[in-house]
Amino acid sequence: MGNSTSKSADSTAVSPPAGERPELSILEAIREALFEEMGRDERVMVLGMDVGRLGGVFRVTRGLMERYGPDRVVDTPLAEASIVGASLGLAIGGMVPVAEIQFLGFTHQAFHQIGPQLARYRFRSRGRFNAQVTIRAPFGGGVRTPEFHPDAIEAQFSQAPGVKVVCPAFPDDAKGLLLEAIRDPDPVLYLEPQRLYRSIRGPVPAGDHTVPFGSSRLVRDGKDVVLIAWSAAVHLCLAAADQLALDGVEAAVLDLRSIVPLDVEGLVAAVQKSGKAVVVHEAPLTGGFGAEVIATIQQEAFGSLDAPIRRVAARDTPYPPGSLEDHYLPSVRRIVAAARETVAY
């Protein structure tokens, strides 16, 4: 898994000589995917605020403009709806846009262009047009960002049929899901775990590497309970599993990787093993995607459930200032407690 947390400065994504490929951070893996795919397919372009000369506020796109020029790596005006809406038009016109929304919280400004437009254009046009558009956006808490920057609103997009929603938690998946997203003929929201950008490193296949959507990843096996999560919360679950192991509780950890489409089969299989599950997410409890996970499991595996599925989620409050976010977010401690109760049920 390579969950080492070294914080070395990110190098430019140029493939090193074979045999010596270093581990990459999630940020580097995303950048590598963009570099490679823009090289492979000249229709691919990157647009968004500050993505060009600056390389994005997280420097994910650093170097891209120098390499591929300002026509394909474009700084846009400060207007999210037009970034998404224009991306749809660009796609219809034969480009393959990868739009960056600076933070997922600011997709709020573009909601009417995402669910009602991007997502429905294939359907509305009866297949005449499709929106091969990827929207990249960092999200999630734990790094003391200002208001709106950590908003975890992924569940809302699950009510917008026509888009897909994917959320990598590891460098290899970051690359593989992004390449899959860019090539997918349908619109994909690709959600980047900002708190893991530089802190999680791992091996990443060189060159072409895709991960199919709708396939979850069992990142840790265990017979007593399964912890289900996506994006940064997967790492909280791994830490919780470590702690539980000290008490002899064997917790599995399932990374959904994509929430739309959902890997129902993988989910059910993971739960059936122990009959016990905890779902963890950074979004508020009520109406979070954890509810869908539970509703699905109880529908598909009712007979195998030996305990209620608990949710460890953010509170049903607005996101507080960074200094208070630890009281708001799910924590390892809360996950461990929920898992223990579940196992003991």
């Binding site: 796609a91 262009q113 437009q117 294939r122 009866r126 026509g162 129902v264």
Partner: protein
């Protein structure tokens, strides 16, 4: 250029053939309005919003486009423009007669679907024009929207982006003076919406939207600017929605008969009819023949749609994604099962 009596000032920017084509389209448009309203009253059409009164604005602008080269991005009240641009009449009827499979825009027709979320098509049009520019494809994008739409954030963001990227976009603001019941005077305090273009760094023009020739000439100029790489143009076509907003609406509830009477005096079709007649291009006989042809066309389109199989449950699972997830496969199977 054409006054209400149909007198021209200056020389016509349209050839004789174009004038005839436009007049025919205008007559077709009004006949389509009548038919679809009739079908709606019979319960065979859901909701229909007529073009009535806006024919010069919509057709004059469409005539300045080359369907083999340019793209059209409609709002929802520009059927004759869509027909001119290549949409078969049958497909248009299918839209309103509830057969969305048959309504689809055929391959090769450079036209986007109608947009019912007011203003949402504007950034699409800007993006599409941007793609033409990036790919160095010769052509322009013409986008239609109402004065109501011009109040939406999407109008602003799309205009500004189009200005910054200097894309080949022709923005056709059809100011028909109403957004449902809301008069243009309530929509904005600006005396001219065309002037907003300055705030985006490109030119804006106001034109009598009931003057076919003026609309055509102004649009053509904008198309040429765009083709020359000079970027977007905003054209405000000032016209009047002579009919109801749509078949659920009754404008008597919110506007004065005198206002409508004045608009009738300025009817865009009558002007062209007079002009064409004065030029010796048109006669009552010709009109009668044309109307017969049009009625036959409409009858045929309607009949064709009526004969088509109606889409069923499976249809709603088509084109959701390129391929269905297992969950959607299951829902599809259920839906088909339940519908039989």
């Amino acid at each position: 250029m054409l006054d209400v009596e149909g007198r021209i000032s200056g020389s016509s920017p349209m050839s004789r053939g174009q004038v005839l084509e436009a007049l025919r389209l205008m007559l077709l448009s009004r006949a389509v309005d009548d038919r679809l309203i009739k079908l709606q009253r019979m319960g065979r059409v859901g909701v229909y919003g007529p073009v009535h009164g806006q024919e010069a604005a919509v057709i004059g602008s469409a005539m300045a486009l080359d369907p083999q080269r340019d793209w059209m991005v409609p709002a929802s009240r520009e059927h004759p423009a869509m027909l001119r641009h290549g949409l078969p009449l049958k497909n248009m009827f299918a839209t309103y007669m509830g057969n969305f499979e048959a309504a689809a825009i055929p391959d090769g027709v450079r036209l986007l679907p109608r947009q019912q979320s007011i203003g949402a098509q504007l950034p699409h049009a800007a993006g599409l024009a941007w793609a033409l520019k990036l790919r160095q494809v010769r052509g322009v994008v013409a986008v239609y929207f109402g004065e109501g739409a011009s109040s939406e954030g999407d109008f602003h963001e799309a205009s500004n982006l189009a200005g910054v990227m200097r894309v080949p976009l022709v923005m056709l603001l059809i100011n028909n003076h109403y957004a449902i019941s809301t008069p243009a005077s309530r929509q904005s305090a600006a005396p001219s919406l065309a002037r907003r273009a300055e705030g985006y760094g490109f030119p804006g023009f106001e034109v009598d939207g009931n003057d076919l020739l003026a609309v055509y000439a102004t649009t053509l100029e904008a198309v040429n600017r765009a083709l020359a790489g000079e970027g977007p143009t905003l054209i405000e076509c000032r016209t009047y929605r002579m009919g109801f907003h749509n078949t659920s609406d009754n404008p008597k509830e919110y506007r004065e008969p005198s206002e409508v009477a004045e608009a009738e005096r300025r009817d865009p079709i009558e002007r062209v009819r007079r002009y064409a007649t004065a030029e010796g291009l048109w006669s009552t006989e010709q009109e009668a023949t044309t109307m017969d042809e049009i009625r036959a066309e409409i009858d045929a389109a309607q009949a064709q749609v009526e004969e088509l199989p109606r889409p069923g449950a499976a249809s709603i699972f088509k084109h959701v994604y390129a391929s269905l997830s297992p969950r959607l496969e299951q829902q599809r199977a259920e839906a088909i099962d339940e519908s039989t």
